[in-house]
Structure formats: structure tokens, C-alpha cells
Symmetry: C2
Subunit: 382 residues, 2 copies
Amino acid sequence: MALIPPPATRVGDTLGTIATPSLLIDLDAFDANLAAMAAFAARHGVALRPHAKAHKSSAIARRQIDAGAVGVCCQKLSEAYPFAAAGIESIHISNEFVGADKLAMAVELAAHVRLSVCVDALPQVTALGEAAARAGVTIDVLPEVDAGQRRCGVTSEDALFALVDAIAAQSALRFAGIQAYHGGAQHIADWHARRAEAHRAAERAGNFVCKLEARGIQSAIVTGGGTGTVEFDATSGVYTELQAGSYLFMDGDYGHIAWDGALRWRHSLFVLSTIMSATRPGLAVCDVGLKGLAVDSGLPRRVHRPDLSIEPTLTYVAANDEHGMLEVQGSLHDETNALLGERILLPPGHCDPTVNLYDQYVCFRGERVVDVWPIDARGLSR
Amino acid sequence: MALIPPPATRVGDTLGTIATPSLLIDLDAFDANLAAMAAFAARHGVALRPHAKAHKSSAIARRQIDAGAVGVCCQKLSEAYPFAAAGIESIHISNEFVGADKLAMAVELAAHVRLSVCVDALPQVTALGEAAARAGVTIDVLPEVDAGQRRCGVTSEDALFALVDAIAAQSALRFAGIQAYHGGAQHIADWHARRAEAHRAAERAGNFVCKLEARGIQSAIVTGGGTGTVEFDATSGVYTELQAGSYLFMDGDYGHIAWDGALRWRHSLFVLSTIMSATRPGLAVCDVGLKGLAVDSGLPRRVHRPDLSIEPTLTYVAANDEHGMLEVQGSLHDETNALLGERILLPPGHCDPTVNLYDQYVCFRGERVVDVWPIDARGLSR
């Protein structure tokens, strides 16, 4: 018998028996988010290509496609493999890449799926075109333009024209449109300021589209947008495709920005944890820290009870590698020992890198585990 | 043929061909650290039980045991499985745990290895004793005392006595000594202040040992200490066993504290990354961000060239999920495009949670890959 840790749970188990820490999805909230975004995109006549970097799970991608998504985005080439293997037919790599290791993956993927990728420099185009031609595959290419993020993407129309010309010169590449993603706009807390920044991003993207049209080049796809700006992107008249990902889960970072528009997303992602030490008045220690919660966007802002109600007397105040420190207020302050063995649910500060720490989602409805989904792209960052 | 990403590298390859991002070990530096700590512990007549949470790899644990370590520490029960499966015979769980899922793992592990665990509350002792008796196994138990960390561990001699008595009342449990770990002392930047805090921790631990002796109870093991305080712990006359882990790798957090004593550790752990976009003067973007570098203790403080020399013109200034932003100074500032495709080595800010993001170490000497070690306890946080 192989000596491996027992499974964390089985379908049909109650929440009270799941091994901790585990990453949980409240399927009622998840389903509501999934359906709401699909309906929103359909209503506005824009394609939805959700970002799979948020969930890294082909089981979830399949549900998004079944609800009307045209395919998925991946941020890295290796990340695309489990989605391709699971039969997702259209994958967009929303990122630039350089190097022989990357070209080998791109042409292998392109032999199995309709692959599109981003470029923002001529050497990327040449290398990809030559590799694709050698492999006998065709790859759709979307130059990335800088829509305000100041990260990747070309900043001038001349640079964009040069890329489009270089793509045209490669028989194995096909110009498919442009990518204009503005990550910095997503988390602007004030709704009106966020809307204004999203409008500026769309304006920049639209300007690049017009400049291409003036040269007789149509951008079939203008892809971008994220959970924070999707309501503005969809009505911009510029974007044809939305890349939102976090809407399925929400997280602390998105949860605390203002949502003044029609869209509301529910928190569906939680880390289940157990209080395993409580020797000091006012302090309890739970079994999830840095290795089970990404803290780059802050600690969990609330502590929930297993019935999802908020536990007002506990505050997650610090994360060590495998310990979470909980400040205890109220009547339990002097009797923290009474908390030993209690289970809590923590909404992660940032969903994407938290998901990347786990190998599976434990999906529940009410009190029961109803499904377990592998996070099959976990760790695939190449 | 299964559609899975190709291997990142093969033994014999040069550094220039490794797929990025990858987690690299400079084996010359690693071997020096491994040997230096083994010699240090032997010289001072204390047992070395390195903390496997730092490396999460049975291949590394095996090398530590071969160099004289008495066993390993794990922070979680599930983490111990790959070490037990690999034949490591003595494993200490340096942490408290509560719950049926944990008890099941404890008794299964105890059937395969000499297992010791920590407790700091009576219900933990009772539950463990009953589970061990039912399973027909014996488990060594070390009550944890608070040595100044203010996290887990009992704070009074009465609480310690109660635990020792409860252990004695369980036929399947054996009192083996105490754990006194002071994590807060490890990273104090000033060497003298760190030494003073380590002395206070040893004094607290020694006081608990004396109080037990006054009741006729011998603490065969007093375990604790970490990379930052090991030089003080070893000569304290209190600690019989050292739990240091990070010494193998070093990281930004340990690298920037003062090392005024005889011990010096070399940076052996690096993330290899490729610059994949550089469209703006003064900015280059590399392919590793939050999903390949833990940032809880800060960003990489330096950028190295593939020959390990420091690249003074590049500074890693921000991490997005899969992007690293590099500020470019000097002559390359206006010609960042020239950096496209360049490879860099980044020493992580915090080694433990960075290691937990990868499935393997790529071990190199000079220009060549000489080994690949699985990180077989990656993600095992239960």
C-alpha cells in the first residue's frame, strides 16, 4: 500500500469532516456568478473568453464553455495544456513569450487547439512564425497594445503597424485583432474613477483599431477587460471579447471595491481552516497561513462560520508559513481555549495565487460536499 | 500521446536551455551549507533535525540524514508522508493539530516511522492517546512551551505539568521532552539584539526544563532553534536539538540580517526567469510574478546574471500574477528592447513559500544541470 495522505473529503461528506486546510467553492454562489456573467455578455453581444488563470481547472472551463464562453484565456503556454487535453478548443495566450522552450509548446498546442497568442516585439513574431511554419501549424496573433497598464504592449501606432506587417509576412501566422488589457483599472476602489479609467483604456484601444482601419486592416477581435471593468468594457463599443476571470470567485481585493452598477458578484471561494491552538487570552491560531492563502493583496478581511455567516469576534491578523493568527474579541477573549477545534471559512485576499496553492476544489452546497474538481493547471507557470 | 507540458530540462542541459520560470539550486553553495551545518551541530554536540518545511523534498532530507541529521521536522502531518514513504525513519511534527482527519494521519504515520508531535492543550493529548491506543501505535509527545513567540505553546508551568500528567495517563503516548521555538527571534536584523532574544528564549525553555526536573521529570529532548539563532541555540546548554531549515537555501529575508558570528550561509536558491517584454524605456518585464515568487517577505532584493554575478542595472520592483516588473538603469534604459530574451536569476524574498510553488528543483553546477529533485511534499499543508 502506497504511503500517501488520505483524501481530504469524499462526495456526500459534511463540511464538518473535510480535512483542513482545504479550498472550498460554495456552488450556489459560483453558479450564480457563472450564469450572471454569461447572461451579461450575451445581453451586450460581446464574446466571453474567461481567464483560466483565475481557476486553473478544466472542470470549470468546461462549465464556462457550456454556459456560452467562446474559449478561455491562459496566461502561460504550459497552463494551456490541461485545458487542451480536456478538449477546450479555443485558447488565447494573453501574454508575450520568448525562447525555444515556449515556441515548442506553442506549436504543440496549435496542433491540438485553435491557438492565439500576444506579441509586442518583432523578434517574437519572427521566431513564432518560423517555428509554426516548421511545425506545419497556423497560429492567430494579436499584438498587445498598452491600454494604460504600462506593462506589456506597444505604445505607438508605428510599432503596431510594424508588428502587423511582420505577422503578414509569416505564412503560418494570422493577424486576428489586438489585445488591450488594463489590469491597473480593475481594482480602482471608487466606481466612478474606475469607470473613467476603463473609458480611457477603451479609448486608447479604439484609437489603435481606427489607425489600423485607416490602413485597411480590420481587427476582428479586440480582447481585454476584467472583472472590475467588465460592465464598462462590454458597452464600450470597442471590446469584442471579455477576459474576466475572478468574477466566479470574488476575493478580498475585488470585494472591497465599490460596485455601483448593475453587476454584483458573490464570494464563492473560501479556505476552510481549523483552530488548532489557543493558549493565550485574545489569540487563537488556525492551521492556514502563507502556504494556503496568498497575502499579496492583504489578509482575509472577514472570518466566516461554517454556515457562511460572519463571525464578528475573530479577526485574521497575521499569517506565518502554516499558522494563521486570529485576534479574539468579546466574551471568548478570556476563554480562547473554547475555540480549539472550531472550523472557520476564510475568503482569500487574492483568488488567483491562492488557487495556485491547491490541487483541488471541494465544492459544497449547504452542508454537503457535492463535487471535487482537480486544479489541473496548478503550478503551470511556464 | 498524452498532452502534457514538456519537461523543463534534462540532466546535462545548459542553464541557457532550461524552461522558465524554474526553481534552481546552485549545488556548490547548497553542499557547502549542508556540510557547514552538519559540522556545526556535531562540533557542539547537539542533534540536527532540519526542518523539511523549508525544502519539502525527500531527496534533500536524505542528504541531510546522510550528513548526520537525526531525522526531520515537518510542520504538518500530510507533509510528513513523502518523507515517511522515502524511508526517513524519525519525523517530528513541530506543530499542534486537532481533528479526526489529523488523528488518522498521525496513527498511520506512527505505524511507519518513529513519530513525535507537539501539544499545548489537554484535548489534543486525550484525543491522540485514544487514537494511538486504538491503532496499536506509540507516539512520542513534546509539549510546546512558549519561548517568546507568543503563538502556540503553554505559558505556565502548571499548564505544562498538566500536559505531562495527561501524557503519562495515556499508555500509547510517551513524554519525550519539550519544544521551545521562537520564530520571532530568527529574523531580528541586528546580530546582538538577535543573540539577546535567543538567550531569553533559551532561558524560558531552560526554566521549564528545571521545573520539570524538580518534579522528577527529565526532558530527553529540548527541540527548537532556527537558521537565525542556531549559533546561540547550540551553545545555550538548553537545546539538545536544532530545527533549522532555511540555512540550505538562504533567502532575501535571512540574507539581509547581520551575521557577525562564525556562521555564514550562501544563497543557493534562485528562480530562473526570462525577460519576455520590454517596450518602454526603463522597464523590462520578466516571466515570473506572484505565482513563482512568494512576496510576503519582500521582492527579490537583487537580480543576478546566469553566471551568478549581480546585474546592477536591473531592479525587480513589482510582481503581478505572472509578470515581474524590472526597472532598468544605465545605458540600457533607453534600449530596453535589447533585453528581450535575457535570462536572470532571482533570489526569493522568502524561501519556504516560494519552494511550495514548484514541483521540482533543477540542480546545477556551473553551466550544467546535474540533477532534478522532486518537491514531493509541495502543497501538503494538512
